[in-house]
């Protein structure tokens, strides 16, 4: 009798802890269902639409996101550099390459909750396409780090994990057919402050 009760409780414990925990984990990881990966960049084009999968819907409800609409833009998040290492706020990176067609884009350094990194200075940890210097072939080289750098400098600050958020506004790539042959800039680590 006691054995049956124990086994029943054991099953219930596995069911509740396993079920609840797996949902929590699935919503926590950045790279979820419905993600589109281009190089190091991840986007969720369907997030916030009625046709989104249940995981995206749960994430929207839990985090209070108001996702960008198709006519507004599309956000990409990078959490790793080209070598596969996690992005660190104490490191310097070069973001280099061509950008897909859009009216304009913004790039910012973000913390774990994807809000902009606090720099403690009047300069934001953000850049936008109207304010960058371009190469002869229209590509852009951006240096991200603590110390001022020539060219396009994205100021970062602090220690710990970092994300880059690249958002294209009023862009044809936001429609799903446009996403197939998009190439995004590479993120290469230059070095780290000890």
């Amino acid at each position: 009798m006691l054995k049956t009760a124990f086994l029943t409780l054991f099953s219930l414990a596995i069911a509740i802890v396993g079920g609840g925990g797996s949902v929590w984990y699935a919503l926590k990881v950045q790279d979820g269902v419905g993600a589109i990966r281009i190089g190091q960049w991840t986007a969720f084009p369907d997030i916030g639409t009625p046709s989104a999968d249940p995981y995206s819907k749960a994430r929207v409800a839990r985090e209070g996101v108001l996702a960008l609409g198709r006519a507004e833009g599309l956000s990409f998040v990078a959490e790793r550099d080209a070598a596969g290492a996690e992005l660190k706020r104490e490191c310097t990176y070069t973001i280099e390459g061509g950008f897909p067609t859009a009216r304009f884009w913004t790039l910012y350094a973000a913390d774990q909750s994807l809000s902009v990194v606090e720099t403690g200075k009047s300069r934001l940890a953000a850049l936008q396409s109207y304010g960058v210097v371009r190469q002869a072939d229209n590509s852009v080289i951006i240096s991200a780090g603590h110390h001022p750098m020539p060219g396009n400098w994205l100021l970062t600050d602090g220690f710990g994990r970092m994300y880059f958020v690249l958002t294209f506004y009023d862009t044809p790539i936001a429609s799903s057919t446009g996403l197939s042959d998009v190439s995004l800039p590479h993120i290469v680590k230059v070095g780290c402050d000890a």
């Binding site: 086994l7 509740i16 609840g20 819907k57 209070g64 507004e72 913004t106 994807l114």
Partner: protein, 189 residues
């Protein structure tokens, strides 16, 4: 020895049953999260302000941002509406480098979006209404609604969000002024 095997079989049975149950709980919890979330955008906004009241979403207006992960180079403002009370009209006179609008339903799904290239002369003037209200309006379109963008949304409660681009800090007062002039009101018809 036989009783040991029996106990092991019982345990294995319990573990398998537990994993099956975990799958069921996973699906149930996943589908119930949107129903019971008290942290979704609507709930956050309703804590900050009333219906038909424009509320800044970015942290610039003071205090923590109401809705998370707004682009730092953007300002955003939102108002909640209830189409059950009538159609809602949103206007924002003035010009900024870029603005875009999204209409969300109660659970935060993006129903419709457009930007300043869609609007006549780049001026934001939009009406959100249900298909039934649209039929009424079509019969006799009032003069002052002729240039408005009509957004047909088959829902009652919703959120209207305006986002505007702030290229650098010299644009901050202009964009803030653009939002201060914006209105979100119940349109009599």
């Amino acid at each position: 020895m036989r009783s040991f095997y029996a106990a092991m079989r019982g345990l294995l049975h319990a573990v398998l049953l537990g994993l099956l149950g975990a799958g069921i709980v996973h699906i149930a919890v996943l589908l119930l999260v949107p129903e019971f979330s008290e942290r979704d955008a609507w709930s956050r906004l309703s804590m900050a302000s009333d219906l038909y009241k424009m509320t800044r979403l970015d942290a610039e207006a003071g205090g923590a941002p109401v809705v998370k992960s707004v682009d730092p180079l953007f300002y955003a403002t939102a108002c909640r509406f209830d189409l059950g009370e009538g159609m809602v009209r949103v206007k924002a006179p003035g010009h900024v480098p870029f603005w875009s609008v999204s209409v969300y339903d109660r659970s935060g799904h993006n129903i419709y979006s457009f930007n300043d290239h869609t609007a006549t002369g780049g001026v934001l003037d939009a009406v959100v209404l249900t298909p039934a209200q649209m039929i009424d309006v079509r019969k006799d379109l009032p003069e002052d609604l002729q240039r408005a963008i009509f957004v047909e949304a088959p829902m009652e409660e919703g959120i209207f969000v305006i986002r505007a681009f702030v290229p650098d800090s010299s644009w901050k007062p202009i964009v803030s002024h653009f939002f201060e002039q914006s209105s979100c009101e119940l349109q009599d018809f």
